[in-house]
Subunit: 150 residues, 2 copies
């Protein structure tokens, strides 16, 4: 796949996720496509909000179950944005083999020896929250602490 069609595919999947959030009663906004001008400010892929709860989200999709590597700067920016907002940062992961979206609190990422971040399929399976979990947290029926035990 060319890098342009890969990018388009990425955007289409972000849009799909935004629609799922919308259907669950969230307000959801996608950041502008990153260009030179937009890059001066930090933007996450997606921000989903409900009942005053703010979920700051970086989206990652993979064709098969493999370890996902994320550069340090990206995670640091996600944390910075989320801290400013008073929200919680997640990686939204979808393996395109039929499994659904899973939301991994960034506290659960592992660091690599070079100082970047990595997320294994095992961590996704063990620590990943579902969209319904996020909706429950937003409705205050479940606390996020139930999921994040570090």
């Amino acid at each position: 796949m060319t890098s342009i069609s890969k990018r388009k595919l990425g955007f289409a999947r972000e849009r799909d996720l935004a629609r799922l959030f919308w259907r669950k009663g969230f307000a959801c906004i996608r950041g502008p496509a990153s260009g030179a001008k937009a890059k001066r400010i930090i933007y996450p892929d997606l921000v989903a909000m409900k009942n005053g709860k703010i979920f700051v989200i970086e989206v990652k999709t993979r064709e098969k179950r493999e370890t996902i590597y994320i550069e340090r700067l990206k995670i640091e920016r996600l944390i910075e944005f989320s801290k400013r907002a008073g929200g919680q940062a997640f990686l939204a992961v979808k393996y395109m083999d039929g499994s659904g979206w899973r939301f991994i609190p960034i506290e659960k990422l592992e660091t690599t020896p070079a100082g970047n971040y990595r997320l294994t399929p095992e961590t996704v399976a063990r620590e990943g929250l579902t969209l319904n979990d996020l909706a429950s947290i937003a409705s205050n029926t479940v606390s996020l602490d139930k999921f994040i035990r570090i």
Copy 2:
């Protein structure tokens, strides 16, 4: 001015406002440029967040001090988004004659006989909050109720 360069100018001004929010310690995200695909979901121009407070914003700039008309659907969507998020909706207005940004709670808009909305320069001057006001509200040092008395 052509409609394309007008649009570009509008985006540039939204970016400027996003930067101002950022400098005041907010997290801020601009919606994607509206195209056919993006339009299926409701997006405000800008969402600014701080300390768990969510400000949902439609941006309007004018070259001179004149009454601004906004179609009903746009305001209804802004309200819907803000309700889902658990936030507060504002119109951000800037007259390009040297005055700064003013934020008008949408509760302050007047309706037109045709069911749309209108915002006069007088209302902007009387009811408009400053960026510092919004920062104070987000830091809980001032309540929004101080500003919204309907």
